[in-house]
Amino acid sequence: MLRWEHGGLGTCVAAQAALCKVAAGHRQLVLQLGGSADGPRLREERRGKSAEAAPRPTGLRSALLAGLQQAASPEERRELERLWVLFLSALELFLQDLRQAQRLCRLFSLQGGGAALLHTGLGGRRGGGPEQPPVPPCLEEEMEQVRAVLAEMESTANIPLWTVEATQAAGPGELGAAPTSQGTGPRSGPCCRVLCPAPQDL
């Protein structure tokens, strides 16, 4: 992976990492919807996060597609396919969170007297902010967008799942004989070191 840091593949990897980060942040926010930290400000924040994530899918998709078409070596191709699958997974997760957000916003609509927000123990990020309730149609649009990208991706590139192997080891959960999953070991980069304890750690 270090070898391809420069060039098209590198940008794909970076974009994928960024998408993951945004998705994680987005999830954090959706988690608090309906709870004690909920409020117009939270919703604004969530929308902002979602907007941040919005252009990435299309960009990453085109980059990956381009890469796949021009793939030089079979290794590069394999790497691109792996990234493709990861990208799809990230998008799916993001879509799921969007769905949750839609459901929660509907359930706890801030308009009309404020539905009873659950006392979840979380303090919201206090501070002033615009008190307007979030506009529902936005969410639908976002979801549609993501869905569209997903559908497009699934139809364009025909990459079977089973060809993609994980580069990360299974981790501590695997006790006994084979601590590494298939295709790992030499390929794991430094980032994986954290997660691959030597078997004696168990």
Partner: protein, 650 residues
């Protein structure tokens, strides 16, 4: 990438109506005025608000819903079990304690939804996150899940790890109290959705449904049309009054109470308790001497008799005495067709037809014309249920007719008397609980099945039924025609005996051998029993021949007791049946039958002219024709085979 499944039905989670109700109550609990008072939880140096005491929850439920204590406690307990409230001090103990134990409300993100279940990917991310936080903290069952998920979604494992890291990082950005609360929430969620072993999985709901309960179908014409069809069919369904069906249940329970090994104990002893397999040995499928309970059970109803292999065996003995053994054999053959090897369906169906259904078949069963027509039609495209109509007919025949007599018969009574009542064995006290008992394994099912098949084959080869006609001129005295299994000659066809019998135990035929000398040449070597040769000899004039012919048909129909028989051949033994029919009428009737059936069959062209005058009812009619007999082996040609196969031999 999740593979979206093809819609093959049954992928909708059922409507869980209680979810909405609990949600409404949860929201009510938040009301600052009428809701539950919250406290602050102290965790080390931080304090987290919004903790609620168990007792307060209970009191609130009692007051709000006006129900009894027990109900309220149960309901509160369910709230905790479903994950709407989670305990703070004992996270794994998902029960409502009505003391000062603290609980907190779960964030709606983690509420159970009807629309989608807790995702595997999410769980993998959670476990990975937990592991990142502190290595080795995963519990045993979590580790198992982790490994399993690693294999299952290995293609997105990199994503899982990546996302876990990102989420962990995102969580660290928050202040400590929030982080703690978030962690508690997530942990509670997964305790509910991936229950540790030993804990009850309350969210289990059985199978997925075929229709989407949330679907709002627009009421189009088509929808209404389908609804109407559905309701019409529902109206047509037969219904039974609940009093009647309950009465049936009660009757069944009363009748079978004594046979239930759990409720009434079993003799000699329950093998699971005493480790003594004698009970199973005594109740083996085809044991020599069955137990008394088992034999008494045959008298409860017909299905009890027929589903017990020993019962069937005994019943078959009785049926053979009554000359209707082919009924049970046919029934068994149909069962084999239904449940046996489906790759051989066509062959099996043909064999059954040849053996039981074809006119003049060796073991012809007596079913009415309509059923026969349906069956033959269906046999053009055989499948496992093609003989259902005929099988049902025969089943009802046996049930209504033979079964009653069977229960009064000496055969059954004898079996009942022979049946053994096992002694109750005392449970051997296990002085040596760790001793290894010498446990013998039961016979291999493969071997058992082979034995069964051999027995069946032997049975089939040696069984003769009364429908097999016998010779008219019998100089022999009259032993009863017991076409049963007693003196069974070997299976190979005896060329000197009647050709149709691979083994014909009938004493008459054996005795007739001496007189059959002249006819022997005329007998075809066919696989299908030909009617007995004309006793009158080749020079017989047409009339007696005709009489003999029709008599043959008559006999083939199984009415051996007719006095006509007696007139034509006074020495033929009488058969203990009561049917009396005049010959002429018989002839007419047979001729009509023959006409109906004749269209199915190909007629051998070599049949002499005089024979053609008579309605030909089967291909075996020719037996008297010398040339024909010599030339080709006659066989029953199944009506669904193409005419091109007509001339083929054997």
């Amino acid at each position: 990438m999740t593979v979206t499944r093809l819609d093959q039905g049954q992928r909708y989670r059922p409507r869980m109506a209680f979810l909405k109700k609990i949600e409404a109550l949860m929201m009510e609990m938040q009301n600052p005025d009428t809701g539950i008072k919250t406290q602050t939880q102290r965790v080390m140096i931080t304090s987290i608000p919004h903790a609620v005491a168990g007792n307060d929850i209970l009191q609130w439920i009692l007051q709000r819903l006006q129900i009894t204590d027990e109900e309220a406690l149960h309901l509160g307990d369910l709230f905790v079990k479903y994950g709407y409230i989670y305990p703070l001090q004992e996270p794994k103990n998902l029960t409502l304690k009505t003391d000062g134990s603290l609980y907190r409300f779960q964030t709606p993100y983690f509420w159970p939804t009807q629309s989608w279940p807790a995702d595997d990917t999410d769980y993998a991310i959670y476990l990975a996150k937990k592991n990142i936080k502190r290595k080795g903290i995963l519990e045993e069952y979590e580790k198992e899940h982790y490994n399993m998920l690693n294999k299952k979604i290995n293609y997105k494992w990199d994503f899982v790890i990546m996302q876990a890291k990102e989420q962990y990082k995102a969580g660290k950005e928050r202040k400590k109290a929030d982080r703690y609360a978030l962690d508690c929430q997530e942990r509670a969620y997964w305790l509910v959705n991936r229950t540790p072993p030993g804990m009850l999985d309350v969210l289990e709901y059985g199978l997925d449904r075929a229709t989407d309960p949330n679907e709002n179908k627009k009421k189009t014409m088509d929808v209404y049309r389908r609804e109407i069809m559905y309701y019409q069919q529902a109206i047509m369904k037969s219904r039974v009054k609940s009093s009647v069906s309950l009465g049936g249940l009660v009757k069944y329970s009363e009748q079978f109470l004594s046979n239930d090994p759990i409720l009434s104990g079993c003799l000699p002893s329950n093998p699971w308790v005493t480790d003594d397999p004698e009970f199973w040995d005594l109740n083996a499928k085809l044991v020599e001497v069955p137990t008394r309970m088992r034999v008494e059970r045959w008298a409860f109803n017909f299905s009890e008799l027929i589903r017990d292999p020993k019962g069937r065996q005994n019943f078959q003995l009785f049926l053979k005495k009554e000359f209707s053994g082919e009924n049970l054999s046919f029934w068994e053959a149909c069962e084999d067709l239904k449940y046996g090897d489906q790759s051989k369906v066509k062959e099996k169906a043909e064999e059954i037809y040849k053996l039981f259904l074809a006119p003049g078949a060796r073991r012809w069963i007596n079913i009415d014309g309509t059923t026969m027509g349906i069956t033959v039609k269906g046999l053009k495209h055989p499948h496992r249920y093609v003989l259902d109509a005929a099988q049902t007919h025969i089943y009802m025949l046996m049930k209504k007719d033979s079964y009653g007599r069977y229960l009064k018969s000496p055969i059954y009574k004898e079996m009942l008397a022979k049946a053994v009542v096992p002694q109750e064995t005392v449970k051997k006290s296990s002085n040596f609980p760790f001793g290894r008992r010498q446990l013998r394994s039961s016979p291999s099912p493969v071997i058992l099945r082979q034995q069964e098949e051999e027995a069946k084959a032997k049975e089939a080869a040696t069984t003769v039924d009364i429908t097999q006609p016998c010779r008219l001129s019998s100089p022999a005295p009259r032993p009863p025609i017991y076409a049963g299994t007693s003196s069974l000659p070997p299976a190979s066809p005896d060329p000197t005996a009647l050709p149709h019998s691979t083994a014909c135990p009938s004493p008459i035929s054996v005795a007739l051998d001496s007189t059959a000398g002249t006819e022997r040449e005329q007998e075809p070597g066919g696989s299908i029993p030909s009617p007995f040769p004309d006793k009158v000899g080749a020079a017989a004039p047409a009339k007696p021949r005709m009489a003999a012919l029709s008599l043959r048909r008559f006999l083939r129909r199984g009415c051996l007791n007719s006095p006509v028989f007696a007139t034509l051949s006074p020495r033929c033994p009488a058969v203990p049946h009561g049917k009396v029919q005049p010959l002429g009428e018989q002839e007419r009737r047979l001729r009509q039958d023959a006409k109906a059936v004749s269209s199915f069959f190909q007629i051998k062209m070599d049949v002499p002219l005089e024979r053609r005058i008579y309605p030909v009812d089967s291909a075996e009619e020719e037996c008297k024709c010398h040339q024909v007999c010599k030339e080709s082996a006659k066989e029953v040609i199944c009506p669904w085979e193409s005419p091109a196969e007509e001339g083929r031999a054997g």
